[in-house]
Every structure is written in C-alpha cells, then in structure tokens.
C-alpha cells in the first residue's frame, strides 16, 4: 500500500510541484493550503509523513508542527519543513517544535525525493 504524504503550503505552485514529484515517486499525496487546513485534515486522515512550509497564513508551519505532534497518529511520523536560507533561526525553532528535518528552498525534485527517502526509508 502506498504511503501517504501531506504537503502543506500556501503556494499553489510549490504544492503542485511537490505533489507531482511525490506521486511520480509512488506516494499518495494530501494537499493542505495552510496550517489550519492541514491540522483539520490530519485529524481525519492517517498520513505517514508531513512536508510543511513555514510561512503560511492562519497557522504557520511551527504551529502546525506542534499541533501535529500532539495528535497520537502523528506523534512519531517524519515532519519535514521547507525553509529558505535566511531562516536559520526558524530551522532551530522548527526542530524544537518537533520537526524531523528540513529542505532548503529552492530545491529540485531529486532533492525532495532524497529527503523523503532519508526520513521515510
């Protein structure tokens, strides 16, 4: 059974690219447009991994990570955040909130797949 990955990003183009890449890699993808949307969907669907942007309206990435870790079904899943180089402090904040790893934007599809493989096996 294919593993399910959620991508939470307010940028439609990034979501599209992430979704496209993951589907090509054989994963099922659930999209969320911001942190709040993501948390709502997480409560109802079981996902194996979460990829989230940090800057999102309504609920940002840090908030999403904290919220997800509080859900029993997401306690141990890998959570990867998308950051930009200028956000070194955000990286630390995200790790403290429970993120497994990060991907620095801009990234190529191969880089995304490499990280997914690293944390999901």
């Amino acid at each position: 059974m294919a593993k399910v990955i959620m991508t939470a990003d307010d940028s439609a183009s990034v979501r599209q690219m992430v979704t496209f890449t993951l589907k090509q890699g054989g994963y099922e993808v659930v999209e969320a447009v911001d942190g709040k949307d993501a948390l709502q969907k997480l409560a109802g669907t079981k996902v194996d991994m979460l990829i989230t942007d940090l800057n999102m309206p309504n609920l940002d990435g840090i908030g999403l990570i904290k919220g997800a870790r509080a859900l029993p079904s997401c306690k141990f899943i890998p959570i990867v955040m998308l950051t930009t180089e200028s956000q070194e402090s955000k990286k630390q904040e995200g790790k403290a909130a429970g993120a497994t790893g990060w991907i620095v934007k801009p990234f190529k599809p191969e880089q995304l797949m490499a990280v997914v493989k690293k944390v999901l096996g």
Partner: protein, 695 residues
C-alpha cells in the same frame, strides 16, 4: 512538465502581485496594520521561494531584497512610510514586468531593478552598490579513493519523538558503500524498565566508501544535535598498504577507546584468544569485541573486492608482446651476467658498483616481467566445474566439485599446458574414484561425492591437489593388474608408493568396465609425461574407502629456473636446482670398487648413477676426481657424473628450436655470461631412459 510548473507559478505570481498591490494601497492608509505587513511579507516570500524553484532566478533575487526590507518592518525595525510604499509598488511592477518578459523573451530593464533596490536599501539604512549576483560556484569534488571509516552512531534516547527512524539512516549509510553494521545492545535495561518509545541501541558501523566524510555527515544532517556521532577514517585503500595484515583485534579496541592499552597488555600476556579473554575478565563487553571483529572482517572483504576490481580494470595485451618482453628480459639477464663477470675480472671498483646496480635492477625487471604473465588459475577451475557436472550426469553419479585457491597465480603458459593433464586427473577421480550413489550409501557415506580442487603456493612452486572422497585405490587390484600386464614380476615386494605409481605406467586400467570417460588404459602415463615436461612432479596418496589425493607440483614459471651449472670437458650443462639433492666426489677407486656397476655408496646407501660423459659420448678422459650430482625424482635418488660442478646459475630457458625438438635428455638451452651455450638436462627423462635401458 517543468513548463507546466512554471505556468502554475506564473499564474500564482500574478495573483499574488494583484493581492500585493491592494495590500500596499491599504497599508498606505493603515501603516501600522501588522496583518497587512504580514500579508505583504508572505507574498514576497512566496514569490521568492517559488520563483527560485521554477527557474525564475532574477525574480527570486530581486524579490529577496524587498522581502528583507519587509522582514525588518515586520520585526518593528523599520516604519512604513509613503516612500517605502512607493518603492514597493515600483518593485511590484518590476516583478510583473519580469514575469511578462519571461514569456516574450524580452530583456528586463536591469537599471530599473537596481534603482529600486538602491532606494530600498537607503531606506533600510544600509548603503552599497548592488552587486551583480555572483554565479554560484559549483564545487565538484574529485573522485576520491576508497576510504574505510569507523562510525559510532548513538542516537539520543528521545530520537523517535522527532520523527526520526535511525534504521533509515543506517540504510542510507549502506548505500554509500560496503557496510558492516553491529548494533550494540549492552546498555539495555531489563524489559520492565524499558521505555518502549525510547532508543537504547547504538551502532558501530564500518563503511568503505569513495564519497568522502562529508557524504557520511550528510546522512546524519538532521540528527546532528540529537545524537553522538563519531566518524574516523581507519584505512585508505591504495595498493601499497594492502600488503600488510590489518590491525589486530587488541589494536582496534584500544584505538576505539574500548579498552586501555594497559588492560590489553595484561590480557595479552596470557596465551589465549584476546577477545574471549577480555570478555571473560569483564574488561570488555561482548558487543564491543563483536564490533571490532566485524571491522577486521569488513576490511578483509573490501580488500578482496578491491583486488577483484583491480583485476577487472586491466589492459588486454597480445600474449606475443609479453613473450617478447620476457625474451628481452631473458637476454638482459644474460648480458647482466656477463657484465658482472667482466667487472669482477677487471677488478674495477667503479665498474663493479655499476654492475651491482644493474644486477639489482635486472632482478626487479625480471620479476615484474614474469609477474605480468602470471594469471590466476581460477578461470581453469571454473571450466572444470562444467566438466564435473556433465560427467556426473553421464555416469549417474552425484558429484560436487569444490575449489580453493582460485586466486593462485601461475605463468600463463603453464596454466595452458596444465589444462589437459588436470582434465584427465579429474576424469579419473570421477570415473574410478567416486562410487555410484547406492554404493556410497551402502558404505555409509553421503550420496553426493566431492571432488576438491585446490591450488596453493609453495616456495617457487604451486601445488595443485585433486582430492576425492571416493573408494580410494585398491592396492591388491593394482598389484594383480601390474602382474597381469607384466609391469611387475609376480611376488614383487612393492611399497605403497611404488604400487600407486604403477597407475602411471603405460597401459594400465583397473576399472571393471570400460566407460567413455576413462578406462581405456591410456592417459595416466601421458599425464605424468605432461607434468614432467613442465618440470613438475606428481604424487599420489590414497586410503581405501576414504578417497584419493593427487598432488601436482609445478614450477611458477617456465621462463627462468634456478639451476646448477656443471662441466664435462669443454661443454657446459644445466641441472634444475629443484631436483638436485647433493653433490659427492667420485674417485677412480670408487669406480673400480663398484665393478662396472654404476652404483655409489653415499652414507651407507647405494645410489645408481649415470656417467654423462659416456651417455653423451663426449670425447676425452675424465679428471681424477669426478663429481656425482645426486638428484631426486619422484622419491628416487639417481646420480649424474660430471667433471666439475661450477655453481648455481640463474638460467633463462631458450627453446632448442624445431630441429632439436625431439632430442632426448635435453629440455632446452641457455646462454652463459661469457656467451657460450649450455644445455639444460631433462633429468626425469634421463632417469627414465636409464631405467628402460636396464630392463
């Protein structure tokens, strides 16, 4: 596909720019609205982030400048002013122009971009020219040598809470190269006290990779702060180092800090296996020793693989070129011998020094030239596997062939010439040696018989052994057949060895029925002849009911041999040193005392000898005291009488050419230091001929 993403980005960007415009206009009216500032920042951030993802690098770098300013505004470091809004609106229009240009291919107005950025920077309070974005330097790391690393990876107890699965990291390590993983479980609490959601295990990993240490660190990039990670290079694999044995167990453990060197010495002072001892004394726990053992094993495997890899990365060269090279080296050796001789005669110190140097270089050159011709015997072995399979099917027997020492190297010519004799010997083992399955079961042996083929270096020779677990030789059957065939007289007292050697006599067969495989009674004598032609020997041992073992001893190379130089009259002869046992004197009195029988007393033993002067009909009288060179062929001692023994000599063998190809008693020739020719004696053949003449 990428275009599709670019298109999606553009649509999104136009939307964001439209939103940005209205946000900015609202912001002009409510400059303190944090929510509006946040929206502007996120719009810029998304355009920057997504732009760079889909190749809009100019937009990304330009937007980055604007985003930086709004980050300051967001953090309260900068006030929203009319000028800021104006500049940002201009920036927004500029981004739009850049998006439009991306489709039409028109160049964007770089000057306008630069002016906006300078304006924004002034606002922010930092000056400075806009530097053209430096092209990113791509660092290409040169292909590195393989290095073996020792890695200890101890994840934090609470590693699982961060969503990390250490096993995927271990799996990722495995992808970097040959990897040996040992999980350390010694720190485990008992079940009741174990928190099932904590990580207690840590790993000792030995990894051989050409990717460099950074690639290993990259594996652990997300967990750097949540684990204890030690990476140390322990071995670089270049060809010079490989010769040595790898570190001993104790050394590895001391290096790892698992044991102190004092403790190690204390343990080593007792004569037991280090690992067991250290554990039993409680200095070390077992897992650490296990890891160190794994390290030794790992290095061994990597080296073997490397050897295989090296062998396969070879150059193919026509064999004739190698033969030519070896020939030239042979002549070189001859000339060098002359040089040394001349230098010694002149007693010229300087010349002698040069001659010595040339001698050393020549020896090295000779060794490496001969080395080039060396091939592993393995390819021949694998051909035999097929032979065994086919024959056992044909004969209805179940036979497994095992091999050992396939990597043993032999001169190419020798390997080629060995093929036929070995085929014959293996056929014989299968046909006469291994019994039918029913017979084997009845004898309490496994149904499936084994033929074991092994090769091993022994001095300047290679020993090739063909051992089977078949019925073994039937001494009585051999004796009966020997008598029947008239090879031995009835009632002859023969040692076991002599009896076994009968099967190498021409026209001998003990098989009850004649099969297509062997048993035609030809072959074993041919085998013996072929082996002897390679200056080798053949030996047979057998235990009835348990099996037979045939050992073939072959010199490493045919091109050069160590030999003993002897003289008869003015003629020089060479005798292969490997066959020479000793030299004794033969006086006229001795000859007279033997009454015409060519037998010498050597330490209370009678040794038959062949007077070579007579044998080769060399004119002239022998000296007062002649020399007997006693040789040993297949355990039989035979002497050869010569005038003088000159000494040991390194002999480059030259074939005699077609005209003398069939000359008996001579296997080749060589050129001496002074330019004269010496013939190389074919000792086994001379012995055989003498025995034949006696009968």
């Amino acid at each position: 596909m990428i275009d599709q993403h670019r298109q999606a980005f553009k649509e999104e960007a136009y939307e964001l720019l439209a939103e940005l415009e209205s946000s900015l206009l609202e912001l002009e009216e409510r400059p303190d609205d944090q929510d509006l500032i946040g929206r502007v920042f996120r719009a810029m951030h998304t355009i920057k982030g997504s732009g760079s993802m889909f190749g809009f690098d100019d937009i990304a770098s330009f937007t980055h400048e604007v985003e930086t300013i709004f980050d300051m505004v967001r953090n309260g470091k900068l006030q929203v002013t009319g000028r800021l809004v104006n500049l940002t609106l201009a920036a927004r229009d500029q981004i739009r122009a850049m998006l439009d240009a991306a489709d039409s291919g028109e160049a964007t107005d770089l000057q306008a971009s630069a002016e906006i950025i300078v304006g924004l920077r002034e606002l922010a309070g930092f000056q400075g020219q806009v530097a053209a974005a430096a092209p990113k330097e791509e660092v290409h790391e040169a292909k590195k040598d393989q290095v073996t690393y020792r890695i200890r990876f101890a994840p934090a107890r609470e590693i699982f809470v961060s969503g990390t699965n250490p096993l995927t990291l271990i799996a990722e390590l495995r992808e970097l190269g040959a990897c040996t993983v040992v999980a350390q479980t010694a720190g485990f609490p008992c079940l009741e006290e174990m928190n099932p959601e904590s990580c207690y295990v840590y790993w000792d990993v030995i990894l051989t990779t050409d990717q460099g240490e950074n690639a290993i660190r990259d594996v652990f990039i997300f967990v750097e702060d949540d684990c204890e990670l030690k990476i140390e290079p322990i071995a670089e694999h270049n060809r010079y180092e490989e010769q040595q044995d790898y570190k001993r167990l104790g050394e590895i453990l001391v290096e790892r800090g698992d044991i102190s060197s004092e403790d190690m010495k204390a343990v080593l002072s007792q004569q037991r296996r280090f690992g067991e001892l250290a554990i039993s004394q409680g200095i070390l726990h077992e897992g650490k020793v296990q890891a160190a053992l794994a390290e030794q094993q790992h290095i061994k495997e990597v080296r073997q693989e490397k050897q295989v890899a090296e062998a396969s990365s070879s150059i193919r060269v026509p064999a004739e070129r190698l033969d030519l090279l070896v020939n030239l080296v042979g002549e070189m050796v001859t000339v060098q011998a002359r040089l040394s001789q001349t230098a010694a005669q002149r007693a010229d110190g300087e010349l002698m020094a040069i001659a010595e140097e040339v001698e050393r270089l020549t020896a090295e050159l000779r060794d490496s030239a001969l080395n080039i011709r060396m091939l592993p015997i393995g390819s021949t072995f694998s051909k035999f596997k097929r032979l065994v399979r086919d024959l056992s099917v044909e004969l209805g027997k179940q036979i497994e062939m095992t091999t050992e020492g396939a990597e043993t190297e032999l001169d190419k010519t020798v390997i080629e010439k060995l093929n036929d004799p070995l085929v014959h010997l293996i056929r014989n083992s299968i046909d006469h040696g291994i019994e039918l399955p029913e017979a084997r079961v009845a004898a309490g042996k496994p149904e499936r018989g084994t033929v074991h083929l092994s090769a091993v270096h022994s001095g300047d020779s290679v020993l090739i052994t063909i051992a089977d677990d078949g019925a073994g030789l039937d001494k009585e059957a051999i004796r009966t057949k020997g008598i029947e065939r008239g090879i031995i007289p009835a009632g002859a007292e023969l040692s076991e060895k002599e009896l076994f050697n009968l099967i190498f006599a021409p026209g001998f067969s003990t098989a009850k029925t004649i099969s297509s495989v062997s048993g035609r009674g030809v072959g074993m004598d041919v085998v013996k002849r072929a082996i002897e032609a390679l200056r080798g020997s053949i030996d047979i041992t057998s235990v009835r009911g348990e099996g037979t073992r045939i050992t073939v001893k072959i010199p490493l190379t045919l091109a050069i041999i160590e030999s003993l130089l002897v003289k008869i009259g003015n003629d020089s002869f060479m005798m292969p040193l490997a066959l020479v046992d000793e030299c004794v004197e033969l006086t006229r009195e001795d000859v007279a005392a033997a009454h015409g029988r060519n037998l010498a007393h050597v330490r209370d033993q009678l040794v038959p000898y062949i007077p070579l002067r007579e044998h080769f009909a060399i004119p002239g009288a022998p000296p007062e005291i002649e020399q007997i060179v006693i040789t040993q062929v297949n355990g039989v001692r035979v002497g050869f009488v010569v005038d003088h023994v000159i000494g040991e000599h390194q002999t480059v063998i030259k074939s005699l050419g077609r005209a003398y190809k069939d000359t008996e008693g001579i296997s080749g020739a060589t050129i001496l230091g002074d330019g004269t020719v010496a013939l190389i004696l074919d000792i086994p053949q001379l012995v055989q001929a003498a025995e034949a003449a006696q009968e």
